[in-house]
Symmetry: C2
Subunit: 121 residues, 2 copies
Amino acid sequence: MGYNVMSRTCPSRVVLHRIGARWTVFVLNALEHQPLRFVQIKTHIQGITPKVLTETLRTLERDGLIARTDFEENPPRVEYELTVLGRSLLEPLRAVRLWAEEHVPEIQAANAVAAMEPDRR
Amino acid sequence: MGYNVMSRTCPSRVVLHRIGARWTVFVLNALEHQPLRFVQIKTHIQGITPKVLTETLRTLERDGLIARTDFEENPPRVEYELTVLGRSLLEPLRAVRLWAEEHVPEIQAANAVAAMEPDRR
DNA sequence: TAACTCGGTATCCAAAGCATACCGTCACGG
DNA sequence: CCGTGACGGTATGCTTTGGATACCGAGTTA
């Protein structure tokens, strides 16, 4: 398959940029074990604002990674869940997340060292 | 290890956001096989602007993922290469990149479907 | 009828990213 | 000795994305 993320016009470039979008990883991870409602996702991912969460969810839905179900009840109930496609992305992303959680000390150490070095200009 | 990316204050959150930064994946991938010079990286990653590349390189250097060597020659020669830490991130990231390259058609199809649906409001 | 819940918008501001032009140093060719 | 070019970036100005906070509409409950 002739896709190559390094090419400026390659569609895989777009896809990779989308995955890298600030909150994608967090949302997909939040939905790993069960469908969740808007407020539940927002609570789970501490610090995300409703506007950004809405945008992220819409994008993921358009890309076919999550499905949105509006039960049209009242008070409103809307659930988001991973699609098969979205679930297939979980494993690669989990590896990255685990790497992040494992290597925090090394990165903090590197930052500490860099902070005491004279600025390069 | 008590790190959890979902916590607002957790350092792993910062690390994960940094990995997800727009160009990190591309730069690390570019350096996979050998050290490269600034212009080589810029050529390899089509479409990145020099300003953004500079910022990305500085951040990666601060985080200890790449090393910068200035040979102080003339014309200037500066090489960037992965550190051991940076190299350890390659494998998780490669999985994500491959996923992106593999699932382009599905995502394009999902977008095509979404484009013909009436707007939800 | 007033308060509450939920799933968002509206508004405004800050930060990140992009396009383009330009710079300083030195080597080299003429 | 002067112009040209390579390299590794900066400078500038703009657009896009992200963030904080307030608010809304519908229906249910008290």
